[in-house]
Symmetry: C3
Subunit: 139 residues, 3 copies
Amino acid sequence: MIPASARIWPPCNIYSSAEIGENVSIGAFTEIGPSVRIGNDARIGAHCFIPEGVTIGEGAWIGPRCTFTNDRFPPSPKDKWETTVISAGARLGASVTVLPGKTIGKDAMVGAGSVVTKSIPPGETWAGVPARKIKKRRK
Amino acid sequence: MIPASARIWPPCNIYSSAEIGENVSIGAFTEIGPSVRIGNDARIGAHCFIPEGVTIGEGAWIGPRCTFTNDRFPPSPKDKWETTVISAGARLGASVTVLPGKTIGKDAMVGAGSVVTKSIPPGETWAGVPARKIKKRRK
Amino acid sequence: MIPASARIWPPCNIYSSAEIGENVSIGAFTEIGPSVRIGNDARIGAHCFIPEGVTIGEGAWIGPRCTFTNDRFPPSPKDKWETTVISAGARLGASVTVLPGKTIGKDAMVGAGSVVTKSIPPGETWAGVPARKIKKRRK
């Protein structure tokens, strides 16, 4: 379900069971897997990989080359897969990898190149490998 | 050589000199370079880059966005390129980068987002940047 | 502007306002954004993401899966975007991410998997997350 208001840069692979919101933009070379839900006004960068089990909230900003996952100890049977939630307004920098089963809170920010191994509370800024809370935002 | 039992999600770039085993699956946006060998039943995720000089063993599981290399101090003449071996049953999480000339042992496991700078013995679990041995597997 | 001497492996997305030098090679699944400039004889690996605001110098070597950025706190209005300069002869290993507004000096080298958060002086070798100066090059 891709609404007419969405902007998709080819080539992309978007499974037909994915639900894409209004005014979503999706960069080239991105794969959106089965049953993924992407909220209105979200922006998904180029080269992203978003498999089944991931939900992206309204107005979220996902940088280029972000990778999401659903299987902690692959390959697992599908009933062991975990869900990932990127809340409304969250912003992920380029090249972020998110482990399975995590939630990134509303309006949280994740630095470029981070590997997210824990859920991130709303409004916080995290960065690093593994990602940790950043006390003060660098200017 | 792509056997009929292989499942390839387009678009992929697979060089004709690559040897792909039976029942292999390869995700979209993956490049498999010249003379790469992939063993039977291996699973290669989307967005992987597997250049010349890499061998993937039987039943290995390579997560999305894994990157392999063959040239330690690029650009080198081809006779300086090194070979990388991913042994049978090894499992690499998403977004792993493997430096040239390394071997990942049989049934070893590598955490998502790791950069592998040393060879990994069979059966061990490594993670991080650079990857180091994890003593106990997290539940 | 893609000169006849350039070698481009499809599929690539190259914006028509990008300026590509003579003898440049660009790997598959790479995106080159608007107004990007790439100097003569540069080599750009597969799966790279090079957005507007980035300049790649003559003879630079950009490994596979390198990611460049232009917006420090996305999404910003375009007048806040920063420029990135990769100087002539610089070499970036695989899977390097470069934050906005940085300069990588002439003939500098960046290790695979690094996240570059500071500008790198000419001729130095940096690696890690975040990237730091490496005193002696490993053999």
